[in-house]
Amino acid sequence: MNINLLKLDFKNIRDFRELTIPLFKEKDVNTPFHISLIQMPNGTGKTTAINLLRSIVCGEILEKEIVLSYQPTRYKCDEGYFGVLLIIDRDLYSLGMHFDYRNGVMKYETSRPKEVGGGKSFSYDLPPYIRNVMTKNFTRLFVFDGEFSENILDNKKTEAETSIKFLYFLDRLELLKIKADTLLENKRKSTKDTKVHTQQGLTKLETEEKKLKQTLVDLNKQLKKFKEESVSTSQEIEDLEKKNDELLSENETIQAEFIEFTTKISSLENDIRNGTNIILNILRTPSQFSLKMNDKLKNLSENMSKLKLPRSVSSEFFKELSDEDECICGRPILNDSIKKKILEKAEQYLAADHITTTNCIKGSIRNMDDYKELSNLRDNLYSYINEKQQLIQAKDLLKLRLDEKDQEKAEKIKQEIIRLSSNLVDLNLYIQSLETKNSAFQEEFSLNEYENINLCQKKLIEKRKRLDEASDTVNFSNGVSLFKKMMDNIISSSIDKIKEDLISKSNTRISQLMGNKDVVLEKIEGCIYVDGKKGVSQGQSLAVAYAFLSTLFEDSPHKVPFIVDSPVGSLDLKVRREVSDLIPKLFAQLIVFIISSERNGFVEGIGKYEDVQFLTIYKDERETGSIAFHTDKKFFMQFHSENEEVQV
């Protein structure tokens, strides 16, 4: 990208009622002078021009306070304008800033060449590849004042190093770090339930998960053990009951009754089992056990028949029909309103899958069993149970007819059965507590993940999910830390490598320009350090600073004009000569704002060059806001402002 500045336009800016500063040659309007010396007394608007130039090339939106600071104070006006004509890679662009002093706002205007779309747009509208480069910091590198070049040499400042960052866009790598942090923050927000973002937190979560895993293993072991104990206890009870039965069955006096009772009890147990199954089957079909439910379902079926539901025509039929050109009746479907109406009506019909489901419901109701009266079945079941209980008691009473010894045996067996049964109840309760999935039971017994397998499994799944999320976040966080560290190393290593190149190239340039190797750029650490065999004059240091700046741009694909305010400031004559002799050699277009007292020494050096224009701009006190403008070299050299002290 090659940029040259061809013209500056001011209208109602501070003391400029209207001023145009041409920087191009009369014979070739698209070619700027190599050097434009613009002499303006203090208070005429040099700083204003520099500030506006810095803002306009990067498209900076100015705040109200700054906008109003450009409003002329010596006469009344509500609007102002500052514009530049640029030639960028052979294309002319015009950029303008319109100031609205009534509202304290400003807006941009861009005129672009035909080749890139042409026309005028009311915004800062340079091509993206230029906008991308023209940042505020970048602009500061080529539109600067004497103070900036002095800062490059000031070991309390870091201008030199910062300039490298800006020119090589290394500052944008800092942006990558910020973006990585934003990503991490978003990730943490999305997994906020986990609340674990550190390695320590992750380790704690891992320990908890491990503990739960072990608990689950232990609970399953317990369950297995209790189940085995339950089986063996049941077996023991069964054996004891068998032994009890044997004791009774072997006694001749009660043998017959015992067999009778046992047979009856067995028969009753069959009846109870069958009766229970019948009732359970009925309970699974609501229409059979609830007369109310039965009536309602029948009512639903009748209503569906009355309403002819489901309709045989599905909504899909109408949706397809709306896409046709002709209705099934043969009439054309002419316009969108008819199509829309058909689609609206389609909403009143069920979709094909709904029709299938509705048919299913209708069929099921039609084929449902009639209501059955449960009370008889229930009463029968109760009578079987009661009868069984009575028989068990009667069977138990048979023991009383045994002899004393057998009675004692039977009593011992009974006591053992009671003890084992009690154990069995406890065991079964433990088993139920361990394996139940019934939340009501879990709540009633206040079971937790360390007592119930189902709760433990749920907790483990939840913990694993949190662990996965946390581990993902922590890994990502570690990745972000590494990424940022890498960025820091890359920035610092790049700067070091670029510095080496810059020092070497700047020194080659300095030695070529000065014709000796007496002065060298020694190092860049924040600022630049200049070293000289015979000592270093202030002018030489400043010349090295300019050489450094021009070398910075040498490798850059962007060639820009150098615009400097007071390049020699209060330097002595010798220094001015040194600087003025050197800086024109460094830049393709040099625009220098100076005051008459800086002319001595500096202009003499510049004057040796051919492609120079001498402009003198000052306030014409005869008319408020009027500016006098001269292009004559003789006038330039003789001009002296009464406001300036001669410093040399």
Binding site: L170, L176, F476, F483
Partner: protein, 58 residues
């Protein structure tokens, strides 16, 4: 389009080597840096790169 300065590429290459990262990570990082130089970076590109970094226990 802003191209990558060879000295910056050298610094990226060196850092990839120091951090024992793969050639793929080098390519991703280089592209990401070129893209941010040209204001053309994508947050997903950064996320992908971070996820691709090999993390060594310290």
């Amino acid at each position: 389009m802003i191209k990558l300065n060879p000295r910056i590429e050298e610094a990226i290459r060196n850092e990839i080597s120091v951090q024992k990262q793969s050639e793929d990570v080098f390519d991703m990082l280089k592209n990401l840096i070129i893209n941010i130089f040209n204001n053309n970076d994508d947050i997903l590109e950064i996320e992908q790169l971070i996820k691709s970094l090999k993390l060594y226990a310290t």
